[in-house]
């Protein structure tokens, strides 16, 4: 009996020595947060990130009620500037505070624009938010098609032919992965204990980030199987924050940032 215990102890020590890095070094570490001029509103996908074409600066857009706060950080770390874009309403008299539902940088073939969606419609600005290019008004409210709002934060990634899948984050805290070609369900993850508010995917590596009202940010790895598979890589709880936005800042997933409701920071995590 004693021999067995002794052998058991040696094996444990060997195991620890061999797997030290996996056990004790976290996949990501947190970095200095960037302050925002206004807190983040409770919305889905409340964080958009843009790396400017010349790769000179990283820009972060976070919605605060009827305003989008933009922080631009030069990639050489030299400067940080703040701007804000106010949601303009088509009518002259504002009866109610216009509420922005989402702000997102969208890159289309020849340019990048900043799209604001509000209760009154969609507004499209220059990517730096300086000029309103176009707006599409909602018009009369008619009875909507039944739309189950339990899907949020879908992400689509394509890496050649092999990574084509759709990841959906759901209100019951589950992530579901589908094959984009066949629509087949590949995986269901009991990921979070509350509503999932945002997802992002790193196209080069198939890493997925998910955030939730449960305070957790979790990182997953998509696997190039058919149907696609997924595994858990990392998680961190940002104390007492209902997380509302998440974006990778690197196409390989080497860094990501998150925002929380009622909080004025953009929190960063960098791979170790």
């Amino acid at each position: 009996m004693e021999h067995l215990f002794y052998l058991g102890k040696v094996n444990v020590l060997t195991f620890l020595r061999k797997n030290y890095s996996k056990l004790f070094i976290k996949m990501y570490r947190s970095e200095k947060p960037i302050p925002l001029k206004g807190s983040a509103s409770a919305l889905s996908n409340n964080l958009s990130v843009l790396l400017t074409e010349e790769k000179k600066s990283l820009n972060y857009a976070v919605v605060h009620k009827s305003v989008v706060n933009i922080v631009s950080a030069a990639t050489d770390g030299s400067t940080v500037t703040n701007r804000h874009v106010v949601c303009k309403e088509p009518t002259a008299t504002q009866q109610t505070t216009p509420m922005i539902i989402q702000a997102k940088w969208v890159t289309i073939p020849c340019r990048t624009v900043l799209v604001l969606t509000s209760l009154k419609g969609i507004q499209v600005f220059e990517s730096d938010g300086t000029a309103l290019i176009y707006w599409h008004s909602l018009g009369d409210v008619h009875s909507p098609d039944s739309y189950d709002q339990s899907n949020f934060g879908r992400g689509i990634t394509g890496v050649g032919d092999s990574f084509l899948c759709v990841v959906g984050g759901f209100g019951n805290g589950q992530l579901k992965v589908y094959c984009a070609k066949t629509g087949k369900l590949g995986a269901v993850v009991n990921a979070h204990a509350r509503w999932i508010n945002a997802l992002d995917i790193a196209p080069d590596t198939g890493l997925v980030v998910s955030v939730s009202d449960d305070t957790f940010v979790k990182i997953w790895q998509l696997k190039k199987e058919s149907p696609p598979e997924i595994e858990h890589k990392y998680q961190e709880s940002v104390s007492d924050l209902q997380l509302v936005g998440a974006q990778f800042v690197h196409s390989g997933g080497r860094g990501f940032c998150v925002t929380g409701y009622d909080n004025t920071s953009v929190y960063f995590f960098v791979q170790n």
Partner: protein, 355 residues
């Protein structure tokens, strides 16, 4: 995504944010009743007078015409308009509050409901919280059949309006409520004592306890290929338990959640901590405080006429104090401007004078 489905998403969002006002009003009103009840007892106000105050306020709150207007689809009132509504309501009887006590009352009400919405396990639980408030209000007016009837009517309005909403619709309502409470971080002593609020005014969000009804405990990955082909576990990061019961959405029943029940008793006092000036200055974009709200004004006028008809000849007999002593109340009162008078400028509070 085609234009039509984009429109329907926004329309749904708009529709849901237009159905949020009754929930905001009823829950804030419910908290107000709890706080007033506690203070009336703490100040040893005689029973029949206390009862009269609460009955008058509840009867006004649940006035049929006012409730019918409230339940019509409309955006939330501005913060200022909401504050004015409750100011009027608090004075619907023989009780009066000075400006400092009214401020404190409103701060406590809003932080309590903010806490309940933040801690709700799933968005639909906000209806259970509302029903908890309704259940308590019903108890306060036990023995007054005409007010009971008014309360029962509102139960029916709630069940009709929210009974068949989807999870997604409740989620949008929850977001609308959270955004109404954004940037409010007043510290409440009962919350600090119970360690549900931090010293920076943020609520503690536990990573343990039951998961919402309809959710699974995190930690399982299931892989499929037609049917389930494999299972993997991963550490959930918290210590969660399955949810054992849903809670009743009927007129009577076990709501299961304790959120929305009366957390005050004679021994647990009603206090905020520190001064109101500890609030970040609102961004210039926060137009609500400056733009007049015609819809709200119409309802305020209606409310005024309802209250006015009851209290024109009534002299206030009770002066309620939300502070520990009259002195404290005076100090707090010296430092603020009444909300209704500060029309077009942001109310500035001199932090050096506030207690």
């Amino acid at each position: 995504m085609c234009k039509k489905s984009i429109d329907s998403i926004f329309i749904n969002f708009l529709k849901m944010s237009f159905k949020t006002l009754p929930l905001l009003f009823i829950n804030l009103g419910g908290e107000m009743v709890y706080i007033l009840d506690q203070r009336l007892r703490a100040q040893n106000i005689p029973d029949e007078k206390s009862k009269k105050v609460l009955h008058d306020i509840i009867a006004t709150m649940f006035h049929k015409r006012f409730m019918e207007e409230l339940f019509k689809p409309q955006p939330l009132y501005s913060k200022r308009a909401m504050r004015t509504v409750f100011d009027r309501l608090a004075h619907a009887s023989i009780m009066k509050l000075n400006a400092a006590s009214m401020d404190k009352l409103y701060d406590l009400m809003t932080m309590a409901f903010k806490y309940q919405v933040s801690l709700s396990l799933r968005p639909k639980d906000i209806i259970l919280i509302t029903l908890n408030h309704m259940d308590s209000i019903k108890q306060f007016v036990e023995g007054v059949p005409n007010i009971r009837q008014q309360v029962d009517y509102v139960y029916r309005l709630i069940i009709e309006t929210y009974g068949s909403m989807t999870a997604g619709e409740f989620h949008l309502i929850r977001q609308t409520l959270l955004n109404f409470f954004q940037d409010m971080h007043i510290r409440v002593s009962i919350f600090l004592k119970d360690k549900v609020q931090n010293n920076n005014g943020r609520f503690v969000l536990p990573t343990s306890g039951p998961v919402p009804w309809g959710s699974e405990v995190p930690g399982l990955i299931r892989l499929f290929d037609g049917k389930e082909k494999a299972r993997k576990q991963f550490p959930s990061g918290g210590s969660y338990l399955p949810c054992l019961a849903e809670g009743s959405f009927d007129m009577k029943g076990d709501r299961v959640t304790k959120l929305g029940t009366n957390m005050y008793s004679t021994s647990r006092s009603v206090e905020t901590v520190g001064n109101r000036a500890v609030k970040s200055t609102p961004q210039t974009s926060d137009v609500e405080s400056n733009v007049p709200d015609p819809l709200a004004k119409a309802q305020l006028d209606l409310l005024s006429s309802l209250i006015g008809s009851k209290t024109t000849n009534v002299k206030p007999e009770i002066r309620l104090n939300l502070f520990k002593t009259d002195e404290e109340e005076e100090q707090a009162a010296a430092a603020i401007q009444p909300v209704e008078m500060a029309e077009s400028k942001v109310v500035k509070i001199d932090a050096s004078k506030v207690f």
